[in-house]
Amino acid sequence: MPFALEYDAITKEYRSWSGQRRVRALQQFSLSVERGEIFGFLGPNGAGKSTAIHLAMGFMRPSSGGGRMLGKPFGEAATRRRVGFLAENVALYHRRAKAAIRFYGGLNGLHGAALDRSTRSALEAVDLQSESTRNLGQFSRGMLQRMGLAQALVNDPELLILDEPTSALDPAARVSIRELLLRFRSQGKTIFLSSHLLSEVELVCDRVAILSRGRVVRIGTLSAMLETTDQVELVARSISESLFAKSTVEGERIRFAVPKTQQREAIERVWTAGGEVVSVNPVRRSLEELFLELTSPESSAVELAARERGD
């Protein structure tokens, strides 16, 4: 089965009218999103995330390279009928909520009873069915964001491409959107999620790609990315906290980290001191720590990307 989304060595360069100023937004960008997964797409502002998404949607053409969406080349209208898209800073025509969703559903070829059904279920999915007769001009930013999601869901898409879907939402709405995304995954749909909210990504995504200066600097499952290979964390009890450097006390328990190579020795020291080892786990970084590490200007991955780009 083909990938849900596939970028193959895409380079995208923006040029000024005179052609003298050039900005390379993506360079040799390759990425594959498997069907049925929630894929997190992360990167600092200006990393090229929106460019990558706009290329997939056919809003722009690559300078070189190519890609496929649901097995078809980027930019085919027929493929977009099977895709739902929510843009960053959603903008919709000001009309009544129900009429707006019907309009966007109609553009996807829905009509009659199927359109009525889809409109109702899309509004229900984002909890806006009670506002269906209100004009979008009177909606708050969070409600507009949910309307944006509803128009993306109206065609019951196989692939959902979301650019910052929860940025304007309150915590309760975020939770409901998160549950919606997980429900979608359980139905076998694919979600490509671009977000700055790392905690959200950490909670729902199966795999993540981190983009910096137009290149993927890290890609993989979250568990593999967040696990460090060189440190383990031990929790012990009935020992003195002075036994290990940088240990923290949590009630009767002492928590400390040691290099993986010294794991056995540390356990034996606990036993020798008459203590008991409660747990031994690999040290996990937070996604935020990893993100900052990979996208900071000092990062070797960023340096490499910049060097290859000729910055």
Binding site: R61, R80, V83, L107
Partner: protein
Amino acid sequence: MRPVLLIAKNFAREQRWPLFFLLLWVLGWATFGVFADPHSGPEDALMIFRQLAVYSVTFGVFFGSSAIQADQRSRRILAVLSKGISRRQYIFGLLSGIALVLGVFCLCMGFTASWLLGHFGFSETAMWFGMLAVWTACMLTASLTLLLSTFMPPLFAAIGAGTVAGIPALLALRGDAFSKYVIPVHGLLEPLIRADFNQRWHVSHGMVLLGWTETAVFWLVAAWIFSRRDLSVAVE
């Protein structure tokens, strides 16, 4: 075809206030006719009609130049083009929307002219075909402006369309017989400008057909260019 109609209907809905004010103008003209002086009134009413017809072409330029740009500036184009429609369908939808708005305007103008000028003795026999010619001229300029707006800012597209349509008109006025067929806006409006209460308003069928053919060509070229351009949207 359904997505095209939806975009057309949506465009007309978005332009409801400009259309409303244009129709107020027609209403003002009708009101003038009711209270006009019986001696100078007919000539004045005909002059206003000619003015309205010429201005309606300007409205075509206005709608044509701003249609794509308004959607891009507001970023609403992203939600539209993310659906299962091609760029060609989108452009055709906008052009159909412009046709709808200007069609309503020309229809109201035609009814008012038929009642008011007919009342003063203006020949009604060729009136409706003449209105079709005015509508054709509007659509021709709108499609030309829309074509230019696919790669130019709206103001330059409007100026460009005025220049491209105006040069053949100027050459035709100087006696060049071929120029009036190049972009026949002038050829379509000239019979109305020349018509009076003694001379019938007569438009050639061939000129109307040529107008629609060129409109279709401009649409196809606009769609071709727009399909190959990156969509630039404002970053908030």
